[in-house]
Assembly symmetry: none
DNA sequence: GATGAATGAGGATTCATTCAT
DNA sequence: GATGAATGAATCCTCATTCAT
C-alpha cells in the first residue's frame, strides 16, 4: 500500500521530468538519459517504473494534454461574463510564457505523422477545445452579447486554429509578436461574433473597423 | 569552372532528393542513407558535397520554402479577379494533395525551436505569404468587391495562420476534414472582407450570416 | 534453530520454483525475476537465500537430476519382470510428457560446456542410469529371458545414449516422432538382448529380424 | 563487382569468426562484441555486413550444418568398402577433436526450443545424416557384407542418435571416454547389421560377443 | 570525383545484484 | 526476514561521419 503510493509518486515525478525534457528539448530530443538526468536517477531506473520509454513518453504527453484541456475548461468555468471570458481564453490560448504542457501539445502535434499513437489524444484535445469555445459562444449568444455571423462551430474551430498557429509561431522566442497575434485573434472574434472586444486603437490605424464595430 | 557547374548540378540533385525524403518520411526520418538511396548515390558522397548532413537539410528546407513562396506568388499573379483569386489561394493553401515543399514547410515549423537556423527562413516565408494576401486584399478593396471590416494586415495574417493550422491538422491523413477546413477559412474571409465566397448552404444553418454579412 | 528450519523450507520452495521456470522457459530463460514471480517472492529475496542466482540454478539442477535418477530407480524396483520392466524404462525414458526434471536434465546437458559446475552431477546421473539398466539386464539374463549379444555395459550405455538423443529431439515439440523413437530404441534392445519386445509389424518389413534374432 | 567480391569475402570471414565464437563460448555466449573482437572489427561493422546479429548467427549456424553434412557425405563417397566406410563414419561422427561445425550443431540442437528458426535446418541435417547411413547400409547389404536384422531406417536413425548422444557427452573434455563410445556404437552396428567391425578384445571381457561375432 | 568500408557515440532495453528500510 | 528501489554493465542496434582507395 505504502509502496504503491511511493511508486505512484515516483512515476509522477518521472512524468514531470519528462514534461520538462520534452518542453525544453522537444519530443525528438527526449531520451531515457535526458529524463534520467532530469530526475536525478539512473537510466535503468526509468525502465524500472515504466515498461518502455515510449510508454513513459505517451503517458507524459497524454497527461500534459489532459492537464492543458482541464485548465482551459476551468478558465471558462471561472469566467464572469462571455466577453471577458472570451478575452481571457484567447489571452491564455496564445500565452506569454508557454507552459510545459502547451509546449508538449505543440510538439506532439508536429510529430503526429510519425507517432500515430498520439492521434487519438490530439483529436480528443482539439474536440475539447472546440467544445469549450462552443459553450462560450452559446453562452454569449443566449445572453445577447454575441451576434454570430457564422456557424458556432466554424467560429470555435477558427479560434482554436488561430490559437494553434499563433502559439506555434511563438515557439520562436526571438520575436515578441504575441500582443499582435492576440489582437488578430480577437479581431476575428469581434467580426464573427458581432461584438466589441478591443478598444479602438488610434495608433493601429483601425478606422474602418472602428466605424463598423461601434454602431 | 566546368567542375563547379557539375558540382552545382549534383548539389541540386541532392536537394531534390532531400525534398522527397523529408516529404515522405518527415524531417526526423531523413537520414544520410535515405537521401543517398533516393539520389542513387553512396552515403559517403553526400558528405562530399555538403559539409554535414545538417547543412544539406538546411539548404533543402530553405529552397523548399523559397519555392513554396514563389508558387504562391505566381498563383496570385495568375488570378483573374480578387474573388476567385482568394478562393484559389485558400484552396491551394489547404491543399488536397500536400506538395513536397509544403510538407517540408510544416515539418520545419515543428522543429523550429530545436533548429534556430530555420527561424530566419520561416519568418521570411511568413512575411511573403502575408504580403501576398495583402496585395490580394488591396486589389479587391480597390476593385470594390472587398469591404474589409478590419485591418488589411490582420486579415492577411489570420488567413495565413488559418492555413498553417488547418494544413498542420491535415498532416494526419486519417481524417479527411479538408473541405471543412477550407470552408472555415473562407467563412472568415467572407466576414472579414464583407464579401460572399461560399454558396448559402441551407443544411448548414447559415441564415445569420446571410442576413448580417450583406447589409 | 526454528529459523534454520524455516530457511531450509524457503530454499526448497525456491528450488521447486526454479524447476518450474527452467522447465517452462529453459535455462536461458530463467531469471531472478521469473523465479521470484513463480515463488511469489521479491527478486531481492532470492539473493537473500542464495549467494547468487547461479548458485540457486546449480542447486535446482542438481536436485532435479537427483530426483530424476531416483524416479528411474523406483521404476525398475517396481517392475514385474525384465521384459515389461525394460519396455517401461524405455517408454519412460523417451516420455510423452516431459517432466520438469527431465527437461532440466536436457537443458543442463546442453550448457555443460559453459557451466563446468554441472559436469560432476551430469556424470553421476549418467552412471546411475547405466547402473539401473545394467541391473535390469543382469536380472533378465539370469532369468533367461535376455540373451545378450554384447557386453552388458555396452547395452546399458547405448540405451541411455538413445534415450538422451531421442529425448533431446523431442524437445522440439513440432514433430511427434515419439512412438517412432521408442520403437527404434526397443529394436536395439531386442537385437542386443536377443529377445522380443515389439509385435511383428508386417508393414514394417521386419522378416529378417524375426528369422535372425531367434536362432 | 570487385566490391561485391570483397564484401562476400568479409561476410565469409565474419561467418568463420562466428563459428569460432559459438564453438568456444556457445550460442548463448555469442554476442556482437565477441564476434567483432574475433574478427578484429568494431561491433558496428558487424551490423554493417548483416542486417541483424540474429541474421549473422542464423547464417553461421546454417553454413556450419551444411558444411558438416557435406563432409559426412564426402566421407561416404570416398569409402573403399561398406565395412571400412561404416567404421570411418562412426569414428568421424564421434570425433576426437570436435570441429567448430559439429560443436555448433550440438549448440543449436540444444537451443532449438528457444530458437525455432533453426528447426528446419536441424531437421534437414538429421535427414541428411540418416540418408547417408541408409545409403551405406544399402550398399553393404547389396554387397552381401551386411545382413541387417532390423529395418534399414531404424539402424540409420539409431546410429545418428548414438553419435549425437556420445558427441554431446564428449563436449565435456574432462573425461576421455571417446574410444569407449565409438566401440559402443560399433557394437550396435555389428548386432544390427550382422557383421564384424571390431577385433575380439580380450581385455574388454567380450567373450560372449567374441564367440558370436567370429564364427 | 566517388565509393563503401569502418567507426564510435548514442539509442533503448535487460537483468543480476546491492542496500536502506 | 523480506522488500522493492536503484544501479551499472551488458545486450543489440542506428547513424553521421571519416578515409583509403
Amino acid at each position: 500500500m505504502m509502496a504503491t503510493v511511493r511508486r505512484q509518486q515516483r512515476k509522477q515525478e518521472l512524468l514531470t521530468a519528462t514534461h520538462r525534457v520534452i518542453s525544453e528539448r522537444g519530443i525528438a530530443g527526449a531520451s531515457v538519459r535526458a529524463v534520467a538526468d532530469r530526475a536525478a536517477l539512473s537510466p535503468g531506473s526509468i525502465l524500472y517504473y515504466f515498461e518502455s520509454f515510449e510508454e513513459l513518453v505517451t503517458a507524459a504527453v497524454e497527461s500534459a494534454m489532459e492537464e492543458f484541456g482541464d485548465r482551459r475548461r476551468r478558465l471558462l468555468d471561472a469566467a464572469a461574463d462571455p466577453i471577458t471570458g472570451l478575452c481571457q481564453m484567447v489571452e491564455a490560448g496564445i500565452p506569454e510564457r508557454i507552459s510545459d504542457e502547451l509546449r508538449i501539445v505543440y510538439e506532439v502535434s508536429s510529430v503526429l505523422r510519425d507517432k500515430p499513437q498520439f492521434r487519438a489524444s490530439v483529436a480528443l484535445l482539439m474536440d475539447r477545445q472546440v467544445a469549450i469555445y462552443r459553450d462560450l459562444i452559446r453562452w454569449g449568444t443566449e445572453s445577447g452579447v454575441f451576434r454570430p455571423v457564422m456557424e458556432e462551430a466554424t467560429i470555435a474551430e477558427n479560434l482554436v486554429a488561430l490559437e494553434d498557429a499563433y502559439g506555434l509561431y511563438l515557439l520562436d522566442p526571438s520575436s515578441d509578436r504575441r500582443p499582435h497575434y492576440v489582437r488578430n485573434a480577437l479581431r476575428f472574434a469581434e467580426a464573427a461574433l458581432g461584438c466589441t472586444l478591443l478598444p479602438a486603437t488610434p495608433d493601429d490605424t483601425l478606422e474602418p473597423l472602428g466605424k463598423d464595430s461601434t454602431p
